[in-house]
Amino acid sequence: MSAGAASPLLASGAGGAAPATMELDHSWRRHAGRAGGRLVLGVLIPLALALGWELAIRSGLAQGRLLPPPSRILGTLLALAQSGDLRLHVQATLLRVALGFVAGAGAGILVGALTGTLPVARHLLDPSLQALRAVPSLAWVPLFILWLGILETPKVVLIAVGVFFPVYVGVSGAIASVDRKLVEVGRIFRLSRLALARRILLPAVLPGTLVALRTGLGLGFLFVVAAELMGASEGLGYLLVDGQQFGKPDQILAAILAFAGLGKLADGLLVLATRPLLRWQDVSRGVL
């Protein structure tokens, strides 16, 4: 906008500068247009498929017993929302993800920072943790049930384990790859170990840590489904199981839609909340 406002001024002052500014203005508009066009292109296929399926069922070409039309799925979602059931299930699922994420991410950051900064801790812990990481997290489920029962604890622990490993690997990797050249700047100015950690290491590992947290959050949603599939009386995962047992594909798809919305929302909130910390970054502007 500012380029457009400035161009008349420039045009009156120096004729030669005006065309360049005008061009800039156009390219800005072109850019905005392209972004809008990309959005339209991205939703074109799912929208066409949904509309096509809806029409196929309306015109009697298909029955839609196993794959209900979009209108019925949205209707089920709306009914769930109106009865208050959706809120109950979303709350249960979100609470599990939140508890598991906070515990797993907290432990991942702590242990990752420890092994990233202290060689002794790295040699002591990293081999074992890497071995444990090789175990598919779902393999722990029977053991967790034996140890912790079938209520909330095993579910939260499973989610926490699933979140822990990507965060741990991300944080320790980010610390290991801090630019030695920037650390030397800190040494030249005689920073204490603590000041070096606070003023150089911490900001340097922040981007990598936030990427690890996003991966962890995604896995948190993956594992909450697994946890709720193995037995729950509430939660979006319960809606999935219930829909399967009672032959309600519209309810299954409604729950899947809710998962998609929640996951995207949680990820978006995480990015939004951490964006001010990464203003200085030279990358991924407008990509996220």
């Binding site: 050249k181 040494r187 100015f189 200085w280």
Partner: protein
């Protein structure tokens, strides 16, 4: 007064980067160090700056032995090495964390004005050109008034015009407090234009080949500087010749 006595550095792999270098610099003196690659120029600066430990020898600043980074010594690296998460002003004030905020502000503002970047104080490093970033790095090194400033080929990545611009900024800052400067460079013209004295080094192992007093230091006398450059170029070729012969024999 900076004195370096019998300074030697042998790396863990047996490479003898520096063998018995002795040099002493008067306060306010600008000494350029030139030499081919592998003659220990950068090693010398890293030892004096306290980033690496010497194998043997002593470094003294005004009589006191120094080991490790010292508040009286500043270093400008080959690359700007600005902290990308700090604004330009915060980068310049990075080493002043223990000073009162008011003093920090005035010092940073003055240093930024000296390198002509006063109106860039609030920007991010990524928004500046390479030459501007290196000016910020020089301001950052000067801002705490070091007695000795070490510069490790700070202009080598820049084009000729930007380089001359930075020479002016460097001399403007130097004129204020007159620190001793050790300037490592591979550019003999740069050495002739900026230094009082030029140390020509020779490789394998790194040591001093010859020391040359610059004719009419910093006078801007182009003819005199050209003469000094020619002398330096000849010495540089001479310093590299024996090792080149040895290398040829080894093959």
């Amino acid at each position: 007064m900076l004195t370096i006595q019998d300074l030697a550095k042998t790396y863990a792999d047996g490479t003898q980067a520096l063998a018995g270098l002795t040099l002493s610099l008067a306060p306010g003196e600008i000494v350029a160090v030139v030499g081919g690659s592998g003659c220990g120029k950068t090693t010398l600066l890293r030892l004096v700056a306290g980033l690496d430990a010497a194998t043997a020898g002593l470094i003294r600043l005004d009589g006191a032995t120094i080991a490790g980074p010292h508040p009286g010594l500043g270093l400008v690296f080959q690359e700007p090495r600005l902290l990308p998460w700090l604004s330009i002003a915060e980068n310049v004030g990075f080493g002043l964390a223990d000073r009162p905020a008011a003093e920090r502000r005035t010092r940073v503002a003055r240093a930024l004005a000296r390198v002509g970047l006063a109106d860039h104080a609030g920007r991010w490093p990524r928004e500046l050109s390479g030459g501007q970033q290196q000016r910020v790095a020089i301001a950052r090194a000067f801002v705490a008034d070091p007695r000795v400033l070490l510069l490790d080929e700070p202009f080598s990545a820049l084009d000729a015009v930007t380089r001359e611009d930075l020479h002016r900024h460097l001399l403007a800052l130097w004129a204020e407090t007159r620190p001793t400067i050790v300037l490592v460079t591979h550019d003999v013209a740069e050495a002739a234009a900026l230094a009082d004295r030029v140390v020509v080094m020779r490789p394998h192992p790194g040591r001093i080949h010859r020391t040359v007093a610059v004719e009419a230091p910093r006078s801007g006398d182009a003819v005199a500087h050209l003469r000094t450059s020619r002398v330096l170029r000849a010495l540089l070729d001479e310093s590299l010749a024996p090792s080149a012969r040895r290398a040829a024999l080894a093959v």
